[in-house]
């Protein structure tokens, strides 16, 4: 981890708007130093977002993950996100003072957040984000060239999620696959098999939204959207497919994994949005054959809600309310996950078709 050389904020009163403006000034300095490298429009769950990068390092690291959302349109964006890093733009984002960090919960700096402005500080990763709920956000990395896969595979989640919450949507910790008509959310604790299953479904021709994080709305029926076009594979899952995909290795904790961008290898299989047919809770059984059995809404809530809330930095409890409301419209099933992935994927395809 790079040690911080950032100056402290010069805001002595904990005024949310003042710290937000300090972020805006730091971004403008970054633009003067390094120019705007990319200025793209993204369609995220129906919201048109302009994403601007000062310098080219941050965009190189995170834009490929969002590339499937880029839209060529003359429409006016509802949001403008600005992104840069200190190192390549030589514009250091001032750090929160001790006073500002007095009420630092779930990555949110509550002392400099209010109904309009939100400030997030992901201290372990040295990421500062500032959101004006009226449609403007700033996100600053310390050194984007050394971003961990946590961020490269799911960038700006706190910024996206704050904008999404205003539209009744929440980023949830779930894999999502489907067909042309509907999606299946697959949610459970780490190592329950959801990410591997999502990639197996992708490789067997199913439509793909996520292996880890996707967007869920509380409509009736709830809808899911693809947000990050990445797929991750554990070391043991690589074998026969490694030569066919542009895999990039990374280490997560002690574990070696691989990832690839789905839209470069399977551009036609990304499912941008779909009504959710059901929530599945996987559990690896060791049996050869997979099967589904009904589960309760409470089971679904336990599988989906806590990990979603803990994975996405948040300023309030909108996420819990959105997820619970969505669960009110979702059938829930246990997915007893067998070892025969061909049979599992066929079963899910049949389930989607309603047979």
């Amino acid at each position: 981890m790079t040690s911080s050389v950032r100056p402290l904020s010069r805001i002595y009163e904990t005024l949310p708007g003042a710290y937000f403006r300090e972020a805006r000034e730091a971004y403008q300095r970054a633009v003067r130093n390094a120019g705007i490298s990319h200025n793209v429009l993204l369609r995220v769950a129906g919201i048109l977002i302009q994403l601007r990068f000062a310098g080219d390092v941050a965009q190189r690291m995170i834009l490929p993950t969002l590339a499937h959302l880029i839209e060529d349109t003359k429409d006016t964006p509802q949001w403008i996100f600005h992104c840069w890093d200190d190192a390549s733009t030589r514009s250091a984002m001032p750090m929160p003072t001790a006073e500002m960090k007095n009420d630092h919960r779930r990555n949110c700096l509550h002392k400099v957040s209010d109904r309009r402005y939100v400030a997030f500080y992901q201290e372990w990763m040295e990421v500062l984000s500032f959101i004006d709920r009226e449609g403007e956000a700033y996100a600053c990395y310390l050194d984007a060239s050394s971003l961990p896969m946590y961020e490269r595979a799911a960038p700006l989640r706190q910024v996206f999620n704050t904008a999404l919450n205003l539209r009744g949507c929440q980023i949830v910790h779930a894999a999502a696959v489907g067909d042309n008509e509907a999606s299946l959310l697959i949610a459970g604790p780490p190592r329950s098999g959801k990410s591997t299953l999502a990639v197996q479904c992708l490789l067997r021709g199913m439509r793909y939204q996520s292996d880890d994080l996707c967007i869920l709305s509380h409509d009736c029926p709830p809808r899911s959207w693809s947000l990050y076009n990445v797929a991750k594979i554990r070391e043991e899952g690589v074998g026969p497919i490694s030569s066919e995909l542009p895999l990039e290795a990374f280490t997560e904790g002690e574990e070696r994994k691989y990832f690839f961008h789905v839209n470069t290898s399977f551009p036609d299989q990304i499912l941008p949005v779909a009504p959710v047919k059901a929530l599945l809770i996987p559990k690896i059984t060791g049996e050869p054959i997979s099967r589904l059995s009904p589960a309760t809404a409470l089971d679904g809530m336990r599988a989906l809600l806590p990990y979603s809330i803990s994975e996405v930095p948040t300023a309030d409890n909108s996420g819990e309310k959105i997820i619970l409301k969505a669960l009110g419209h979702l059938p829930v099933y246990h997915l007893h996950l067998g070892s025969n992935s061909d049979q599992t994927c066929l079963m899910l395809k049949d389930f989607l078709r309603g047979s």
Partner: protein
């Protein structure tokens, strides 16, 4: 101490998320990280209170309440107050009541309402497993907190 029949209750909306799903009320309390399941009679009474019923209207909904029944009903409702899910109302607004969801007098057979309380999600809802990492960084959570991946 009997509960005044004109007492009504407000849901502490800013502290909880709640949803009625297939006849089960699921409630999450943000500050404690606890969550609750209300089934059967508990869900029915919850629905009445949510619609704006007074305590008197709830108790009169039942055919005949014995002493133990009264204690069970009081324990259930005031238990939800103790958990921070309900609070005693302070400004009764008859227009805010959902008339079609209020109970009919004497039409319901009493079964003691109860709620099930769970705390197994506290570590994820209250702590910050992503932020609270050790010196190696994510995904190495500090001892005692959960790991994410």
């Amino acid at each position: 101490m009997p509960i005044p029949s004109d007492r009504y209750y407000e849901i502490v909306e800013q502290d909880i998320a709640h949803e009625m799903i297939d006849g089960e009320a699921i409630i999450i309390h943000f500050k404690s990280g606890n969550y609750y399941s209300l089934n059967g009679m508990a869900a029915i009474v919850w629905g009445w209170l949510q619609a704006g019923s007074t305590y008197g209207e709830v108790s009169e909904a039942f055919e005949e309440l014995k002493t133990d029944d009264v204690a069970a009903l009081r324990g259930f409702v005031e238990g939800l107050v103790s958990e921070g899910i309900l609070r005693h109302g302070t400004s009764f607004d008859s227009h805010a009541r959902k008339a079609d969801l209020l109970p009919l007098s004497g039409h319901t057979v009493f079964l003691a309402p109860q709620f099930d309380k769970y705390n197994d999600m506290q570590h994820l809802l209250l702590s910050d497993p992503i932020h609270e990492v050790d010196e190696r960084g994510w995904p190495h959570a500090v001892a005692g907190s959960d790991q994410t991946s």
